[in-house]
């Protein structure tokens, strides 16, 4: 079996996406959820890079990766701010404890 570097990139992307999805579904800690989201995003970036190499549109892939990195960073920042606020008011990072919140 002869794998090209692009195939390796795609395989790593799929494994990272699977790992991030598994973390998102199973983890209850708010900061760990963001760690899982980061891993999922890294897999997505590698998948876009592999798609760019497959199609020969590396410039387009780079532009999309830049946008994805910016969006992911902002989402992570907002999530961290929210997690810290939750900890300051409830004293916990556990997702299950947030079910008791009433608006």
């Amino acid at each position: 079996m002869n794998l090209s570097p692009t195939d390796v990139l795609l395989a790593a992307a799929l494994v990272l996406v699977g790992l991030g999805l598994y973390g998102l579904v199973t983890v209850r800690h708010l900061i760990r959820i963001l760690v899982a989201l980061q891993i999922l995003t890294q897999g997505t970036l590698l998948a876009v890079a592999a798609a760019g190499r497959y199609s020969g549109r590396m410039d387009l892939a780079q532009a999309m990766i830049l946008t994805a990195i910016v969006a992911d960073t902002v989402i992570t920042t907002a999530g961290l701010a929210l997690a810290v606020r939750v900890w300051q008011s409830l004293g916990t990072f556990d997702l299950a404890d947030l079910a008791a919140l009433k608006g």
Partner: protein, 197 residues
Amino acid sequence: MATVILAVGALLCAIQAMRVQRLLPAALWLAAASAFTAMLLYAAGLHEAAVVELSVGSGLVFILLIYAISLSGDARRQGAPIVPRSAALVLVGLALLLVGMFVWPTPVDLGRVSAGLLSTSLWMDRQLDVVVQIVLIFSGALTIAGLLARPKAAAPANEVEGAAINPSEPTLVTPSDTSTRLPAPADQVAGCDGVKP
């Protein structure tokens, strides 16, 4: 061969980031996984994206994680997962199968590199992306300002427990200040002994 080594390194670091109990080592493993991802992008020929991933993904996000951990403490993993692990594995397997069905017809590696420049593609063809990035960066900066803002100081205990409470002003209860109580409802404050006037 180098791509395989980098990919294995990224996967091992990502697995460790999910496995370790404490948050600080998890953040360190995540930064290492992000650095390996940046090296993979560089090896794939996406040099500008690799630099941004290394500086933003591995640098800025790591610093933000460390800052959040320093504010809140390095808590260990808590409780059992809400979704059972077996069900989660089935869900992830189904998702990957779905993605694989989309990806499977793709692998026809053209083996050529586009002659287009990133600057041309980003500033000419993807102008909406640039606008979205600007808006996102501004909102991110505002979010960081919210994260860094100190919470309003809690009122002194005698003022909170006495009758001079203004119910319209919310009181922030922090875990380190267990003596602070939430303001009583307005009807109880007015009666002082829980008796309605």
